[in-house]
Amino acid sequence: MSFGEVIVENVQQFLSFTGFANVTYGHLIMIGVGLIFVFLGIYKKWEPMLLIPIGFGMLIGNIPFTPGFQIGIYEEGSVLSYLYLGVVKGFYPPLIFLGIGAMTDFSSLISNPKLVLIGAAAQFGIFAAYLCAIALGFTPAEAGAIGIIGGADGPTAIFLSSKLAPDLMGAIAVSAYSYMALVPVIQQPIMKLLTTKKERLIKMKPPRTCTQTEKIIFPIVGLLLTTFLVPSGLPLLGMLFFGNLLKESGVTKRLANTASNALIDIVTILLGLTVGASTQATTFLTPKSVLIFLLGAGSFVVATFAGVLFVKCWNLFLKEGNKINPLIGNAGVSAVPDAARVSQEVGLHYDKSNYLLMHAMAPNVAGVIGSAVAAGMLLGFLG
């Protein structure tokens, strides 16, 4: 073989390894979706903390390559596969919950505990999607994993899908985070559709100030009450309440700061990036993924409907002056604090002096607990 032929062969071999030689339409579509996510995160500022890592992860996961070099996220021994272990084994979501607990102020819930029930009502979205998924031919385990998208809680969705339907985890995670970013777009029209102007103008009594002791008691009692009844929710609820105790105890500020800043940031980066990278076109672009996206949207819609309608029904039994503004019904989904912010924005749109944020935070944080309990139930039944 002449020198020139060797060079030509080497160049041909090199070209066969490049992304251009291995690219498919699927890769291009997924790269396009990734770019849209990055665009929405940067320019529209829709959940940038989530959409940018996920979007960029999509780019990483969909660079075409020749298998066998331990590059891809699904290749055993690759760096990405090790980073992805936290998703596969389900230990990233509880760490995120630790951070959420350390940054969440449950005082709005403690000061007006009855609003917790709105957080329960919004979980209808999960089970509506579960029923529809079964009707569409998914197995009960797959349906449970899909249904949890309606909880509007990304970490919970990843945790449950890693246990019940690992094959669908990429689609479920991307769907859950996408709809969380779209909470303002999805929820506002439904809230306006279901409420009258008079209802939107209801002013609620300001919540009372709760003491530090109450705040310390809450995570301890909350943990014992919830996990004794639903132990399968322990990884999420345990970490959530532990994080909150770190915050409220007042003596572990360093730990609370780490959990609510550095730790949650690190885990969010790893989680977002690997979830994004897991959407390799070859495994992601299937009819099932399309169905999952549709069911996810439906579950968000049902959850919002259920929350708002629950408050409207409840108001029938409440005296004038004690009525609840149905605009906080949407906050029962656990997209903290986006859903509560939507309540605030819509409330202010109709009355510049009607601040609903603190009222809406109660069902919002109750939604976190509710969706973790629902996930625990599904895991207990189907895991």
Partner: protein, 321 residues
């Protein structure tokens, strides 16, 4: 007194730890036995012999190094698994295979007896037992009839039955060992129940094909749980509200004392207070420069007066034509 309490706590912790460490070995069971091996597995030396399968029913790794296996009821220490053997650790739900053809020097997993030896019990019966590291405490034992054993026909227990036969009575764990049975197929170091069990998801699909039951149950639990949380915190809220009211209630003596203090301050230091208030007012009104040692008048740069601005004082220069 405190030292005694601490001592007691340490003692109880030590006792519990001992119990926990011992638990791994105690969870080991004789899971499957093949007396006559015609076509089942061979050992590393290519020998087909009878074998014993041990199974860890517990949740912790069982370290079997130092434990004893015997076929002689009067000699529990007949064969000792070498204590230093690193491969003698059995993971939870894991298996260990021991070859029985009286060649104990071949490896740690070759015992020093045959499985068809009936000389110790007589009446065509053979005995097999495993003891802990002391050689005193029996972990598990079986007896079996040798004449009924057929080539490649193993007997043993089904793994799923261990959990079913375990119960608790207070703090005591009561266990009835599942019975030995002829197995459909010899499965060395593998699960004995070759009939695949249905997953919970598959069982739910049969019981509740439309998912309605799970939906109703789960939603009820979510509502109930959050209702309980609400009730509990409404109760604690009421309690703390009362406590706060008590604290906030006006106290006449204290009020009078405050009024007296204020009056005294008004009388004695009124000028000083006025000076401090003025200084603070000017400071917060951004009318002074900030200096570490005190307050200084702020230069008003944006509003020059005619006295300060030279261009307004000087005459204009004559223009040459």
């Amino acid at each position: 007194m405190k030292k005694k309490i601490v001592g007691l706590i340490l003692l109880s912790v030590a006792f519990c730890c001992q119990h926990v460490f011992a638990q791994g070995v105690k969870d080991i069971r004789i899971n499957e036995v093949l007396v006559y091996n015609d076509s089942s597995c061979t050992d590393n030396f290519g020998v087909r012999s009878g074998w014993i399968e041990l199974y860890n029913t517990g949740k912790a790794t069982a370290k079997l190094g130092g434990c004893y296996i015997t076929n002689d009821p009067s000699n529990p220490k007949k064969y000792r698994i070498p204590k230093s053997e690193v491969n003698a650790n059995v993971a939870p739900g894991g298996y260990m295979l021991l070859y029985a053809y009286n060649e104990p020097t071949r490896s740690a997993f070759h015992v020093s007896f045959f499985l068809d030896d009936t000389s110790f019990l007589g009446n065509d019966m053979a005995f097999l037992a495993i003891y802990d590291q002391s050689g005193i405490e029996l972990i598990d034992s079986i007896t079996y009839k040798v004449s009924v054993q057929m080539p490649d026909m193993s007997f043993g227990r089904i793994e799923g039955d261990y959990a079913k036969d375990k119960g608790t009575f207070g703090n005591l764990i009561i266990e009835r060992r599942p019975p030995m049975q002829i197995l459909p197929k010899a499965t060395p170091a593998a699960v004995n129940n070759i009939v695949e069990e249905k997953t919970r998801s598959e069982l739910q699909a049969e019981r509740d094909p439309h998912g309605v039951v799970i939906t109703i149950t789960s939603m009820s639990v979510v509502f109930f749980l959050l209702f309980v949380v609400a009730m509990v915190f409404m109760g604690t809220g009421k309690y703390f509200k009362k406590q706060n009211k008590k604290k906030e209630a006006p106290q006449p003596v204290a009020k009078a004392a405050v009024a007296e203090t204020v009056a005294a301050v008004d009388a004695d230091n009124s000028e000083e207070l006025a000076a401090i208030a003025t200084a603070l007012h000017l400071y917060y009104g951004d009318l002074h420069e900030e200096e570490p040692t005190g307050f200084y008048p702020h230069r008003v740069a944006n509003h020059p007066s005619a006295w300060e601005n030279k261009s307004l004082i000087f005459k204009k220069s004559p223009i040459r034509k």
